[in-house]
Symmetry: C2
Subunit: 204 residues, 2 copies
């Protein structure tokens, strides 16, 4: 193993250990001392591969987004949807996959949205594009619903459509409001996303 290999192995080990800690206890459960123990390195060694814990959380969150993206890619019917009905079905399939992912990976999923960088520090560009790619899954069916929308407007509306479904899921699973049972949540998500898609359909 070269020094670069060892560095890479430590990096991967820390991402895995931090991912498990977040999955078990949420962001609040992340402690450098525990991570060092879990991967068997010195406390200071963490900071040879990550600038700080925020940097490590970004790496974990990027992995979470990658798993979510894999689920969305699987849920999406193959090819770009042709016609409004196919687009509505595609949006429903994507929204249900999103709800299922969130319910099954609650604390890791929440960490993606709850994590805040210290004031004055902005999210690195690579992370911004990881996030933005998810909206593209929504943009394709949206094109079938509103073929005349220009690309910039479509991108904006795709983000808002994604966000609307996100809202239904995030407050649907919120314990402070009594979390909805999974089947109730799926029905609400389906109702909202299909109504939204029907309402957005270009009258022709």
């Amino acid at each position: 193993m070269t020094a670069a290999d060892r560095r890479q192995a430590l990096r991967e080990g820390l991402i895995a250990a931090a991912g498990q800690a977040i999955a078990a206890e949420g962001l609040a459960g992340l402690r450098a001392r525990d991570l060092a123990r879990d991967v068997g390195c010195a406390l200071g060694a963490i900071y040879n591969v990550f600038a700080d814990l925020d940097d490590l959380v970004l790496a974990v969150n990027a992995r979470t987004l990658a798993v979510l993206e894999r689920d969305l890619a699987r849920a999406r019917p193959p090819g770009d949807p042709q016609g409004a009905e196919a687009a509505i079905a595609a949006l429903e399939a994507l929204a249900l996959a999103y709800a299922d992912f969130a319910a099954a990976n609650m604390l890791r999923w929440r960490a993606v949205f709850d994590h805040r960088l210290p004031r004055g520090r902005s999210v690195p560009d690579w992370y911004v594009s990881e996030q933005a790619r998810l909206f593209d899954y929504v943009a394709a069916p949206l094109r079938a619903l509103q073929p005349r929308l220009v690309a910039a407007e479509r991108a904006l509306l795709a983000r808002s459509l994604f966000s609307a479904v996100h809202g239904v899921v995030v407050l649907g699973l919120e314990e402070k409001l009594q979390a909805m049972p999974r089947e109730v949540l799926r029905r609400q998500v389906a109702t909202v996303v299909t109504a939204l898609a029907r309402g957005l359909r270009d009258p022709g």
Copy 2:
């Protein structure tokens, strides 16, 4: 001043000071020592009126919800909307008021959703009903859109409609995704809520 008055005054002082601290720096900016200094009490005196800081945050969040409710009440056209078009207009007015409230009170508004009680502790009933009351604002126009929906289903869908708008606002204002300028956000909220309402309209 009786002892009860002094207790009440300290309670109000702490809620105000904590509200300001959250508005300035978010939940992470809340420190018991600073609060005691701000209101001029001993550190331990805080715990004579609140069980702990979580209890104090719940009190601040309830105030935030009360101000939001006042804004929603003002935005809502008077009387229950008659007919689908009036219901769509009412939902749009409520959604825009919500977006404006969130943008103008960002950190206090976020604290309502970001605050988590320690594991195993559940939100007190009085707080649950404060939250649930907000959904009633959505339930009234929803009744005009879907008169045949039974009350329990309407309450569930009202929560989901509220949540969809919440999602558009929360991710629209998210710096990690580049926050939308206020006017862009308002347009997106209006587009989503009116499309959603049109799509939910009972065909008769």
